[in-house]
Symmetry: D2
Subunit: 348 residues, 4 copies
């Protein structure tokens, strides 16, 4: 029994990546794709890499078009998903790749996004470690409204949660600097996203605590057990279309050492299909995970600096967005969690 | 009266960049270039971008060849410059682009480099702020043995020294994550430096406090007034041939605020020809400084995180190496400090 | 009944890509990987993107190690495969990703490669159009020795064969300029392949008719019906790790026009699962096919210039190498031709 | 006596590059910069790489603002320069970096651009070889209206003119495929120019004889002596912000050989300061000329294909635009032709 799926906002990068994954997913069929300005065009003319979906044509994003599917994936601009979801029956699985339903705090929403607050949905990060040792995937089974996490958030959360839950790192005064590809910003026409601006250059943005992903990171760290987390978070655009390489540091808790640190992360992820801790002395690069739903983690303890350094590599469009959506969809629908999800990166 | 210069190790990236700058320098003439395996070849066949130097041919790197110049720039592998310098008269200005004479602590040398310790030369970072408010350029006037700083070191030092000297940031528990181009590693044939490995990817190296530039950074921070500095330092190779974008964080000292922070950096660099603090809300990208001897600094105070974020952009081969050498040479020889040094980047 | 496979030379880019495809292939199991200097290491430590194959360890490339498999894929340096193949029983399927068994002319081998000539194996380009209208795939059914084509050769051959076979283009005085990623050159430690050399630059090589892929192209064009083909062929390395964008031109035959040209290519490939002709006015980019076994073709007739322009995009490591190997393996073993082969690119 | 200059359209890439060159030009002073949407902003906030011009602020592009300068450089969108030039006295030197005044044929203008035809100005390619052996620079002395050539045009013209003038190549059935950086397309907000689209990919555009630079190329080849030139011309965007690598082929004339070919090009450019023919077996890469007003040419004769292959590397923003403007300005004003123009590239 195949699951029928509609993808709204399928002309963008996130929507395109959802389609790429679903196209090879044995348990689902994409029957509808919608777009705004591209409505009426063939999918393949806008997303020419999706050859196996050459039978699809963009429809308008309307309640009528989205009705009647087992699942609807929303890859829409911020603020657009609330109304769409309201038009769909509660029994339809809706996954929102946007930010509208991620934050549990209306105050955070007000401060970092603004506009109408839509309330939080079940959070789509199965590997998120709770303070009690459970994983977030339990909450995804049977869920019908799922908020897919932000890509940077996933990298930083996966990198820090084990240390916080195990109390080997201090949950405050954290730092994270991320080398990121611009595809996370979508197909938006902004000067700073032009190839001429980006190629041969590294450029920071949202410096100094203003990035919208910060409250979502802190929310996750509280789930993992941090009472009062704080983080200095800086993303830097670098010349690669996709990928996130997060360099995260945290102060060692007194008494913790290299062994207890490694043990905390390894025990957290030893059973995970998509999150792997590399051996001592090994660190990931983003090419290792391009196209894959895999997050790789490297760990080092810098005794001189008194900090643990956690390096996380993931593909912002896969584990950071579309892969998280499909993994959550699998869990919500009772399918094998890893169904249709690539584990191997496309490298070099 | 033109200064005659020999450049040893002129077949590599650092040596080539020294030549590119000296070629347009009105006060000097490059009369000799040396190399190892390329000896006997025309410079232009190995460094085809240096059209105006098409009259030069590589000689062997011997004392005889290097003798008789007013200045000798060494762009040799670590460990090679001590012997070369010993063969040259004290009156010859020798600038070493390698690491051999940077560290004042033999213990640091032993731990991070090893092999024979050669002692420290005058350090070639004119803008380095001393705890007493003087600049390091005073020490360069008339110097005859100059150690050119490491490229990452220059970025981090310029980014932190004003805050440390002004006591608006804590000098310990600093963090720095750098997006760097691979040209800093030279023309070495290593798998990790292949284009196929680097393009489309971000890859960290020397994670966890092992990078050789760390003791040099701490040495500089002590000059700026830090009693017990410590830093978590992580370089990440990104797909651009040159450039360093350093994201540096430091805890605010109690009582310091955005205004005192900005004031500390602006007063430190307001008279500098090559180091500029950008206005509030502006942050540099590396393209802005490609090919130039300029370092650009952006500043933000993150009240939530309790940290100052300093972003520094420079060209590792210019302000990070060859430009620092020429700037120091100018000072040592009593020429105008900015003679022959480009201020404008080649962007986009 | 699963096919057991050994991959020799699995530490390189071609071998790694064969493994990436086979890892997701439902009809085969990779049981052995071999390497030279990496023998004894875990595969995952050398090819960290191949997470699902974390159980494999490199063995030495010896007859004993390669014996006993249903199929052996050779991804070895030129000249190494002849001896290895000779040690394997005739009943074992051997696919050679190197050049040793591609050329049917010993004179061509002598001129472009030199050394011992090993004779030609069945050529692994299923879509190759023969002058009689048959496709080469017929020859692959049941084959036990298969020579996988060169990556540039596949691009140019697919681009030209339909026009030659249909006699709408002249088979002589052809031109091809290819923008290529350096992964086609393998993990070799050469200065010209360093990231610092390649990034931000476009560099031609083997200019003027010296590239080793030329005789193989002409050989294929003769199969398609050209009596005396000739081609000016120039590859240009551009800053992307993988991909080939071939811009090919051919003079229109008298009487041919845009309609007959389009018809020739469309009829040639209308039933192909992996080769697609784009609609009028559409042209492919390499990102559309990264990671996929797909070749995309755009066509234009330039009346003023009297030439047809054919643009072909493919991934040198997939349709250009590893995908061709797997596609040929499927045919040789009687499996569905497209089994385990991705059709969709990883874009952006 | 310093020449005062205004640059109109100084917020774009071409205008920015004109400023970068003029900033280091000893004979001129930039006193005015104009822009459209950026009027009122500091130049340095829009072009942060131009540190030495931090005193300039954008004015509106009006006749009043542009009046009173010795020279005005126009870097405006197509169609805008005619009206601006008409408002300036004949004695003012006006250089148009746009296409409005390049084509001598109104029919060509109609077919490839359309809109009002403005007539041709003196063409700004000093090295253009005329059929009678003179160079175009003679026409630039004292000129007051100069049309700066298109960047691709300069590459192809420099590559072909010597062979045409010397009659060693046939002037018809030429082919050119160019690997180009996107900065030539300006700072325009188009999806195809986004970094996510361009990085990791090669994408052709204007395939099949539709590119606007084609009539300009043919016009130049006629100047060099071609009665009926024709060319198949295809540009391919590759992932580098600037640079053009043109691979050009032409059929050998009967009787011509490698020696006469080399002689034709070498004699044409032996006295040129900015155009150089590389030795046999050497070919240029674009990194060699980044930031420089240099064009490098490599030559090969492919006897089997019956074609000469000419590879030309130049920086589209320098020799292809801004450098050509400054070089022409020098000639027009009687300054040394090479004044203020960099010869050495910024590599790697």
């Amino acid at each position: 029994m195949t699951v029928s799926i509609a993808v709204a906002g399928a002309s963008g990068y996130a929507g395109g990546e959802v389609l790429r994954l679903l196209a090879d997913h044995p348990g689902v069929e994409v029957t509808t794709v919608t777009a705004h300005s591209n409505a009426g065009q063939r999918l393949i003319d806008v997303q020419p890499h999706l050859r196996s979906l050459d039978y699809l044509t963009f429809a308008e994003t309307t309640p009528e078009v989205l009705a009647g599917h087992d699942a609807v994936v929303l890859a829409l601009p911020h603020g657009a998903s609330g109304a769409v979801a309201a038009s769909l029956p509660d029994s339809t699985l809706v996954l929102d790749c946007g930010a509208d339903h991620r934050l549990t705090s209306e105050a955070d929403w007000e401060r970092f996004y603004g506009g109408e607050y839509h309330g939080a949905w079940t959070y789509g990060l199965p590997e998120l470690l709770h303070a009690d040792g459970t994983r977030h995937r339990e909450h995804l089974s049977g869920a019908r409204r799922i908020a897919v996490p932000g890509c940077n958030v996933t990298a930083v959360t996966l990198g820090l949660a084990p240390g916080i839950r195990s109390e080997v790192i201090e949950p405050a005064d954290l730092t994270a600097a991320l080398a990121v590809g611009p595809s996370g910003a979508g197909r938006a026409l902004k000067t700073m996203l032009l190839g001429s601006e980006l190629m041969g250059s590294a450029s920071p943005y949202a410096v100094g605590g203003t990035h919208r992903h910060i409250p979502e990171i802190l929310q996750n760290l509280r789930v993992a057990g941090a009472a009062h987390p704080s983080i200095s978070f800086t993303p830097v655009l670098v010349p690669m279309s996709r990928g996130i390489l997060a360099t995260i540091t945290a102060r060692l808790e007194p008494g913790a050492d290299a062994s207890s640190v490694r043990s905390a992360w390894e025990s957290a992820y030893s059973s995970e299909p998509f999150v792997h801790v590399l051996p001592e002395g090994h660190f990931p690069k983003t090419a290792d995970v391009v196209g894959a739903n895999t997050a790789l983690i490297g760990l080092a303890v810098d005794e001189d600096a008194g900090r643990v350094v956690v390096v996380v590599a993931l593909d912002n469009l896969v584990k950071g967005t579309a892969g998280a959506a499909v993994q959550s969809l699998n869990l919500a629908l009772g399918l094998p969690e890893d169904l249709g999800l690539p584990r191997n990166g496309v490298a070099p």
